[in-house]
Structures are given as C-alpha cells and as structure tokens.
Symmetry: C2
Subunit: 190 residues, 2 copies
DNA sequence: TTTCGACCAATATTGTATTTTGGTCGAAAT
DNA sequence: ATTTCGACCAAAATACAATATTGGTCGAAA
C-alpha cells in the first residue's frame, strides 16, 4: 500500500510538471509516462484514465493553494489585513498554479466534466475560508454590517468578485492599486 | 452630405443585424452588402474596410448603452438606488448588445486593434457615469468614505469589478441575489 | 502485485486542392 | 461630381484525404 502511493505521487508530480510546461491538452500520457520513468500502459495501473490524473493534479493544486492562503492569513492580526492577504495570496498562488488557471478560463471548455467537480469543491473551500475571516471580523467588531446580512451570502459575494477578478485580471494587467482600492471598498463601503 | 449619412446608417444597421445573428467572424462583407441592398464594392465607398464597419457598429452600441443606462439612473432618487440601477441596466444592455459581448470575451482575441480603442473609450465613459453617481452620493452625504479616497480611483475600482462580473457572469448563471449582495457590500461595506 | 509491449479504434495532424473573402480599380450610371 | 457595381486578384478560410498520434485494453511476463 505504501509503494503504490509513492509511485502514484511520482506520476502526479510528472504530470503536474508537464501540465505547467505544455498545458493540459498538449501533454500526452506517453509524455507523462516517460517523465515518470514508466511505460505508458503502467499509468493505467494507477489511474483509471487521463481525466483521473488531471483530477488528482487539480485537486492537489487546489488543496495546496488553500493551505498556503490559510497559513498567510493566520499570520495577520486584523480582519481587514486578513481579507487583504487572502485576496493577494489567492491571486498569486492561483496564477502560479497554471493548471488551475488554464481550467479557470479557456481550456476548461476543452476539458469539462471532472474538473467542474474539482473547481466547485475548491470554490466551496474558498467560501469557507472567507467566512472564517468574516466571523473573525464580526467578533472583533471590525465589520459593522455582518449582523444584518447573512454571513454566508456575504462571503459568497466576495468569492464571486474575487473569482471574476482573477479571470479578467489574468488577461489584463494585475493592477495592484486597483485591487487595494477594491479591498478598501469592500471593507469600508462607500 | 445627407444622403451619404443615410446610406452609411443603413449599412451599419445591416451589419449590426448580421453581427447579432451570426457573430462578427461569420458575417462577410458580401452578406452585409446583400442585407443592405448594395453591391459589395459599394460598401467600400462608405467605409474604409471591414474593421471600420465593426468600429462604427461597436461605437454606436456603446453609446446606446451609455445613453440608456444614464436615462434609467436619472430616474432614481438615492445614490444607492442609482448605483444599483446602474449595474443592473449595464448588465442587461451589455448582454443585449451581443457584438460588444462577443468582443468583451473570446472573440476579441480574434479581432483586436480597433476594438481595443472602442472598448477603452467605453470604459472611460462608464467610469464617468459612476463618478457622477459617487459625487451625487457624496453631496447627499449618503456615502461616508469618499472624502478620504480619491473619487476617480473609487469609480475605477467599481467599474473593474463590474467589468469582471459581466465577463464571468455571462458564462455562469446571472445570480441576481449575488449581484444585490455585492451592491450591498459596495455601498455599506463590511 | 507490478510492469510493459503489442495492438486497436478514435482522434489529431498534416499537406494539398478548392472555395471564399476582403479589398482594388476602372468603367458605367445617376 | 457623386454613387454604383462587375470584374478581378491575392490572401485567407475551408474541405478533404492521407498519415501519424493518442488514449486506452489485454494478456503475458517479471
């Protein structure tokens, strides 16, 4: 049981490397096998098909992002700082994870199905993380409005904004000043 | 001088109809000419090339959206209502103007250049409109923060959010509740 | 339990013939 | 002088067939 996991992991590592380098579509099972030092047919002993490999890589990346973001957020004292850090770190790490980035925009149309599941789960985790920050801000009485509005709806709105921004700011330039301004708007209101 | 403008307009009308129906790329100059009841080569008497036709159509649509949005916004009394109306109307009309919508996402990569100009100008007009609302809200003392922050930066941030939302909400479902929540966030803060 | 070569159907790629398209020009019509 | 259009061309898009890759299976070997 231990050995199988090790090799699975090495295959995933190989796949992730190649996905980053050439993109999902241009990476073949043969490529992955070669990078992992295996025969192509051996991969099918560890993963059902290419989609399964993709799902595993995407899941691992999503979990990695969530973990890093939570670590960074935890270091900050105020809810406002936490929210700011959350957005920045999430941006940076999402961009770094090209696979997810590709998924988030164009290439997803070419590879739907399984990835929808991964992304939905990822967004759910994101909402949880934001909710935590909001609850923290409420406890500290840093945020005024949250008593009146549902905390879950609010974090959903914030994640929606973020998701949209990530998609479009990937295309355009990532204007740091604009992001700061948006955070200020969110936390202080007009 | 009058007749030339009339025919120009009829060509643009034909072009717009076909752009909506078949998309920019699938609409040929021959199609437009036929729809306008002219010979293809006649179009070149009125417009330099296909790009010029496209630019004129896009500009007209942008101006139309701005006009409608301003009309709707003017009817509202409070700055908050104005802002809400602005977002809703802008969403609705942008979606209705499929040409601009196509431009806003995928197809723009296939038709850059001239359209970049039109869109930039359109965004500038949008920012102006939002700025007006913000100034109005400041005068009524409806918005607190605006003294401290630059009003131009703030409206730029709002337009950025809106633009992102439009792009991504076009793809996903346009959850009205989410938009309401976002507006609440913007106007009240956390 | 794990690996892999041989093999296959389906997909993707490539090279080429053919058509379509954007755009020009000069002659005719108004 | 203004406006229209058919004939024409080079470049781009399309269609199609030949070819090569790719994802995936299977049974035999390690």
């Amino acid at each position: 049981m231990k050995k199988k996991d090790m090799i699975s992991a090495s295959i995933l590592a190989a796949a992730e490397t190649l996905f980053q380098k050439w993109g999902i579509r241009k990476t073949t099972m043969e490529d992955i096998a070669q990078e992992a030092g295996k025969a192509k047919s051996s991969l099918y002993y560890y993963f059902k098909d290419k989609e399964a490999v993709l799902e595993a890589v995407a899941t691992a990346q999503a979990e990695r992002i969530i973990r890093i973001v939570r670590e960074e957020v935890e270091k900050k004292k105020t809810a406002r700082e936490k929210l700011l850090t959350y957005v920045y770190t999430s941006f940076r790490e999402t961009r770094r994870a090209i696979t997810l980035y590709e998924i988030a925009r164009g290439e997803m149309r070419a590879t739907p199905g399984v990835l929808r599941k991964v992304i939905d789960k990822y967004h759910a985790l994101e909402e949880e993380a934001v909710e935590e920050i909001l609850r923290f801000g409420k406890k500290r009485k840093e945020f005024r409005i949250i008593g009146r509005h549902d905390i879950s709806d609010t974090s959903q709105a914030i994640v929606t904004i973020m998701r949209s921004l990530i998609i479009s700011l990937f295309i355009e330039s990532d204007d740091k000043k604009t992001i700061d301004q948006i955070i200020a708007l969110l936390s202080e209101g007009l």
